[in-house]
Symmetry: C2
Subunit: 711 residues, 2 copies
């Protein structure tokens, strides 16, 4: 555990030692000292160097052992081989925080990997907040701290940014300098030997100087820690992340649909969704959202009003709105009457409100006052095209005035650059997000609205599934004893029963005569399915017959199924056929499954059966544990949800029953880490209930067994 005190010493140190400080201009150890001085750091700086007496006017300490006790922060920029000893000395001097700039650790191979492990151990044993190694350093504008070797120091602001890529750090710093983006904290994570993205979220969520948290990650160090931090943090502040490497190739060949469809990127998507993190896919969007969140209040709802002095740009904004999750606000009749009085005859009172090309700043002001007052309006976008009679600066000031008087978010789109440039700068200085074209404005408002909705949702409730865990354990133990790696069909029935899952009446028939007897016990019509541990995909061998209505049909089907299977799959042992009751008419097939993500644990999937999942990849995913709300959302967010709700007068299926099956799958995944993947496929759901008609459970190789990849 890293203590809050150590983190405070890292972010706002009262003193900084620079281990490897140099008197030679251009050397990293020189740039760091010079950056500290230039940013106006007021704490004490201790350059450490055995050979120099003075560096940039500061007295030099010859060795880490001679540093005063209890310093806050040391920045290390010496060759990798010397880092370990320096860190040990610093630990002895009871340093609180360390940044290791030096590269040459786990990123360069085996030796560096072990060296980094040592560093981690020392830091953890001594409660040191350690950033890096292999990083650019850290900037805290509030403390005038530039503990990096980067060129350039950003303006102060309320955006915190952390990044796993040092190159992206320098790029974004350089870009921010040219685009007047200010930061509270700017952190290069490097190899994350100790401090990782989860620590950043925890610290920054309570940081007074930060009101929006941005980050670039290529992966998380600890999925469980990350999930725990992120969920609470996003309730405090918006967190916007880029997760790169979305197209992970070389994923392990999977043996179920669930495994084949849900990759590690889906696990990240689920983790972000469940913790309320906003995921974006490019740097421009990252900073667009940062600007929106850090300058404007959150919208209370989805209704956007657009005020424009021209038709074409208004249509572009309306198009973007309709494609988003926002609505074009319908205003009250009082507002419409009021606008009718204020505006000239050709103006359009309906949203987008077109106050036409000769609109003065005064007309903008009057119209905006009516619009922001309207209770049906939750946010406002003001569009301005540089028409002949436009009053750019005056209109900007009018927007600023209106914005000051309302607690609704206000955005501006001044279309153009030269003529409208001075107005844009006025708006920027007054913290009103301003754009050249409407689309990114709409994207920003939409993200803010979604964040608002997310925060309103109640905290996820704990779900307890009643189950006979000993019985379930026995089923798995039996399978292990048989040397099985999969539990399917009849053998899995015990597992289903242990979890109280509804199943269709099923009997195994080894002969056609047994099949007829079973059918008569179950009641016609019945379904016959091939039963063979080697045949997973029954339809591949046409191993399923439905709607068998009498004994002669059952006999014929039994013969046909078993003989075909024997012919097509000579390797397979055919146990016979399963005889099952028919699902009621109006049933729909769904799949519920999970696979175990190496980082985040069980990833639960839900989708409609057959081609919906296989061809259209129309699935919903969540990480276990699930809340009731997660299960509810999963059912509703697939594209083919209308099929479950019922098309053409069909009855909706039993959503409660379906939710429960999803929750049970999550419980099963959490109960048995030795299950790698599991799938209920199909689950037959109808208006009055749901049954699990088939199941596959894939076990992890027993401990001590050789990994299949090594064989």
């Amino acid at each position: 555990m890293v203590s809050t005190q150590s983190l405070a010493a890292l972010f706002d140190p009262g003193s900084v030692a620079v281990v490897g400080a140099s008197a030679t201009p251009g050397k990293i150890g020189n740039i760091i000292v010079s950056n500290l001085l230039e940013a106006g750091y007021t704490g004490k700086i201790y350059p450490v160097n055995p050979d120099a007496e003075e560096i940039l006017g500061l007295p030099v300490v010859p060795h880490t052992t001679e540093l005063p006790e209890g310093l806050d922060l040391a920045v290390i920029a010496i060759p990798p081989a010397a880092v370990l000893e320096a860190l040990e000395n610093l630990a002895e001097r009871r340093i609180r925080a360390v940044i290791i700039i030096t590269a040459g650790f786990k990123e360069v191979g085996r030796e560096g990997y072990y060296l980094e492990q040592e560093i981690t151990r020392i830091a953890q044993e001594n409660g040191i907040a350690l950033l890096g190694p292999n990083c650019l350093g850290l900037i805290s504008t509030g403390s005038n701290l530039n503990a990096t070797f980067a060129a350039g120091y950003p303006e102060s602001g309320h955006i915190a940014f952390f990044s796993q890529s040092g190159a992206l750090c320098v790029s974004i710093l350089d870009w921010a300098l040219g685009n007047n983006i200010g930061f509270s904290r700017f952190i290069s994570l490097g190899n994350k030997a100790v401090l990782n993205e989860a620590h950043m979220l925890e610290y920054l969520a309570d940081d007074d100087q930060t009101n929006v948290i941005l980050g670039y990650i290529e992966g998380v160090s600890d999925g469980k820690h990350f999930m725990e931090s992120a969920r609470a943090m996003t309730m405090k502040k918006p967190v916007v992340l880029i997760k790169s490497g979305t197209t992970a190739s070389g994923a392990k060949a999977a043996s179920s649909h669930t495994g084949a469809i849900a990759g590690s990127d889906q696990a990240y998507d689920a983790a972000f969704r469940q913790t309320g993190i906003i995921r974006v896919h490019d740097v421009a969007s990252l900073f667009n959202l940062a600007t929106c969140f850090s300058t404007q209040p959150l919208p209370e709802g989805p209704n956007l009003a657009i005020v424009t002095n021209s038709g074409g740009p208004g249509i572009l904004a309306a198009d973007a709105t309709e494609k988003s999750g926002l609505n074009l606000a319908s205003m009250t009749s009082e507002s419409l009457n009021e606008l009718g009085r204020i505006l000239p005859p050709y103006a359009s009172l309906y949203n987008p409100i077109d106050i036409i090309g000769d609109a003065t700043a005064e007309r903008y002001a009057k119209a905006l006052e009516v619009v922001v007052r309207d209770e049906m309006v939750h946010s406002v976008l003001v569009m301005l095209a540089p028409t002949a009679s436009v009053q750019v600066d005056e209109t900007a000031r009018a927007i600023i005035d209106v914005s000051k008087k309302t607690d609704k978010p206000v955005f501006a789109c001044f279309m153009g650059d030269m003529v409208v440039g001075s107005g844009k700068r006025l708006l920027q200085d007054a913290s009103i997000p301003v754009y050249s074209f409407p689309e990114p404005a709409i994207a920003g408002i939409e993200a803010m609205y979604e964040y608002t909705e997310r925060r309103k949702r109640p905290a996820p409730a704990e779900i307890c599934i009643r189950r006979d865990i000993d019985a379930a354990r026995q089923v798995i133990a039996d399978a292990r004893k048989r040397g099985a790696t999969e539990i399917v069909e009849f053998q899995a029935q015990g597992l289903l029963k242990a979890y109280g899952l509804p199943v269709p009446s099923t009997e195994l028939a080894r002969t056609s005569q047994q099949a007829v007897e079973a059918a008569e016990r179950i009641g016609y019509p019945v379904v016959l399915k091939i039963a063979s541990p080697q045949i997973s995909h029954k339809s591949d061998v046409k191993g399923v017959r439905v709607n068998l209505e009498d004994s002669s049909e059952v006999v014929a089907a039994f013969m046909d199924i078993t003989s075909r299977a024997q012919r097509l799959r000579k390797d397979a042992f055919i146990s016979g056929c399963l005889v099952q009751s028919m699902a009621p008419s109006g049933s729909r097939e769904v799949i519920v499954g999970f696979k175990r993500d190496p980082q985040f644990g069980p990833l639960i999937i839900f989708g409609l059966g057959g081609v919906y999942v296989e061809v259209l990849k129309d699935i919903a995913t969540r990480l276990a544990p699930l809340s009731l709300d997660d299960a509810r959302q999963m059912i509703r967010e697939i594209k083919s949800f209308p099929v479950l709700r019922g098309v053409r007068g069909e009855q909706p299926v039993d959503f409660e029953a379906l939710q429960e099956i999803i929750l049970i799958m999550a419980q099963l995944a959490l109960d048995f880490p030795e299950i790698d993947e599991a799938e209920f496929n199909p689950v037959l759901v109808n208006p009055d209930g749901a049954v699990v008609a088939d199941v596959r459970v894939i076990l992890a190789p027993p401990e001590g067994a050789p990994d299949t990849e090594d064989v």
Copy 2:
């Protein structure tokens, strides 16, 4: 028809009259003259004004009747009431082209509408190329012509832009001035009384000064003319358009699936796709593509090589590439060996090629030379992050050098702004598109690749469908005689036969006894379907029974179907049941239909039956006439195509048979303008053929009949 000579007089006039020229600064008639002079127009300028003697140093002509004969262009900026007479006078003086700046025509109501019609008539009778009214005017940088009242004059360049929105014109002009975008032609179309987007495409496609055409349209004036121009024009030059108003509300309630799903925006999408126009949805993308197309050669294939000095940015670029239609190029082993020799040990030779953080300009140059030479590489993106040892300007020059020596397109992404700014400017000046972040670069390269592919495709072949058009006409005439507005089921069989469409054996049975007789003629198993002109959606009344295997099943099904229909639909006349042969197993259901778009004519749709079309809106659309390639593509571009190709070892369906049915639908739509909508639903397609199992044809109201909306 507008002649090329008239258009040439509009775009590059030897003389310009300004009707409504004014000596008062700030008036539109003064700004226009001043803009002409300031842009350095060298032809003769004739200000027309009854009261002034001299305007901005030019001698004034008192009246349009006193202008010399045969002038090239007149710009009219006088009140709307005076425009008609001025235009008549100009026509008499045999003017070639006219721009009407004046507003107050069809955009303000009925009177303006008729005035505009008069203007159109006069222009057309006299062969005048007329731009406007209600427009900003026209800029031709090649002729130093600024015939607008806009503030600011753009740099010259090779991009032509036309827009239906004047406000967007001024906005983009203002934005272009601040972003160094040059134009060849800049055209405000206004109300399009004569000249419209199709004329622009025709003229600009042959314009030497233009190499890429951009436009903003809210709709086209003449769908047929537009389709004809655009198809040929996009083979000459890339055309990139924004079509706004994508979410047309208030579409007429439609009576078929086709009608409900395919809106006017789909028709535009189809029109753009079939003519090779590139559609974008925001102004930033419009100019990004313009820059790419106007500066770089087209890539010969999809393989992109990324050269970077840092990992994180390289991953971002690779992510964007994998999400696009491009591939990360796999280089030849010779290149890999060569790179291995040139690059330091920690470099990554595989795409993205990471030449690591200490890369000098020389290392960039050497690596790039190997990469562009590789025959597996079709385009190159060079990424640079401002690392400590970066050589910004030298690297920019190295990229420029390599780019000069290759005919492959080269793009740059210099991540940042301040440190990398000078390098960006060097690249821009050398016509290499350069970005701050990789995503828009990838979007640009992808669009260029798609355009290249499109141009390679052979011209669409004419398709002739053999049919008995007289027989078909008779079926429609019979329906008309009965007063029917729909032709369904049995009555439509004649139509299907006339077009040689394969149908399942079908007989109408009025009694259960007739049904059994029919089933025995057709052969078991059979399908029974309710037959009633009032019941379109048979499944709503459970009016279909499949797989009936003997006479008792047929009798029971007949009774059940007809009695249920009578109970549920008391308004319906029940003719009996249709008896049909069963589709072979392995059949899949698809829908083929058309609806008539008011602008573009018949819009053909294709999709998988049932929820695929209804819930998932998974359809392909094209405008008739169709080429064989169109039909082929339609089948392949739906998301659920794998269902047709066969999943899990299923045989693929008979694509040829399906193509033919789609082509026949297009032919039917073209043959009978009196058909509003038609739908083959379902078409049962199996590996050995396809049959049209059901059909609905909706007739337009007979001429002279009151419009149903007026009733």
